[in-house]
């Protein structure tokens, strides 16, 4: 599926909601403006990814991590994002820990030994081969 990266739009409803919450009541947004903002958001993702990936490659890492993204934000002159992003990351990490602690407790309640070997099999996933578990039917593998 040779989709242009720019064609991968973010859901209109979500973009609209973010815009509306950012603007004062009584302000409207034209369809064209909304579409352009959505497009701009996609370009932002592409640019930020590319920038972050440069940091990963510089550090000879194959996996892009959160620190790379934060470094990219600084490089792109979006320093104002750094603090809120760091906070969001903390909340995210805490939440993930809670989920995996919970899952572990549940597993221990049931069968232990059988599940342990399964956990160890989880490797890093190559993005190209990654099985998409989400129900996002519209999502296609991008063949490079």
């Amino acid at each position: 599926m040779a989709e242009r990266p720019e064609d991968l739009n973010l859901p209109n409803a979500v973009i609209t909601r973010i815009i509306k919450e950012a603007l004062p009541d009584g302000v409207n947004v034209s369809k064209e403006a909304r579409r352009a903002i959505s497009q701009a958001a996609s370009v932002f993702v592409l640019y930020a990814t590319s920038c972050a990936n440069n940091f990963a490659m510089k550090a000879k890492r194959k996996t892009l991590n959160a620190a790379d993204v934060l470094a990219a934000m600084e490089e792109m002159e979006f320093e104002r994002f750094l603090e809120p992003l760091r906070e969001a990351l903390e909340v995210y990490k805490k939440g993930k820990k809670e989920v995996s602690d919970q899952k572990r407790k549940e597993k221990e309640k049931k069968e232990t030994d059988n599940d342990k070997s399964r956990e160890e099999e989880d490797d890093e996933e190559r993005m190209e081969e990654e099985p998409e578990a989400e129900n996002d039917a519209e999502e296609e593998e991008v063949e490079n």
């Binding site: 701009a40 990490k93 919970q102």
Partner: protein, 128 residues
């Protein structure tokens, strides 16, 4: 109650300690209503759920041929950053609408903001 539905384990979280943890990605962030705070209190920082679907963000990231692997955290942070970006560009464009005494944000307001604001320079020539 955990509203986060769990799917198969995906990319492990790349933490600073270099730990490889078996992580399970919250599936379908579109459907995850747990932290969807509405109203003016809705803060980007307090939600560990992204408004933007991580699957779509990841698909965009995959479009870059130089990108091989990305941690779940990095996908999440890019999603959050994109939220902040949308907020920022909407607010900055509004200034131009207000200058024109309009209450409706139009495409030209966006174009003006992109031209005037350094951080948006990367957008020049990219929008239809």
């Amino acid at each position: 109650m955990m509203a986060t539905t769990v799917a198969t384990p995906v990319t492990p979280t790349e933490s600073d300690q270099g730990r490889s943890v078996s992580e399970e990605e919250p599936r379908g962030n579109e459907a995850d209503e747990e932290s969807q705070q509405t109203g003016p209190v809705a803060s980007v920082t307090h939600s560990r759920v992204s408004k933007l679907p991580l699957a779509r963000i990841k698909a965009l990231m995959k479009a870059d041929p130089d990108v091989s692997l990305a941690s779940q955290e990095s996908v999440f942070i890019i999603a959050k950053a994109t939220e902040l970006f949308v907020e920022m560009i909407a607010k900055d464009s509004l200034v131009y609408a207000q200058q024109g005494k309009r209450k409706t944000l139009q495409r030209k307001d966006l174009d003006n903001a992109i031209e005037a604001i350094d951080e948006f320079a990367f957008l020049e020539g990219t929008l239809d």
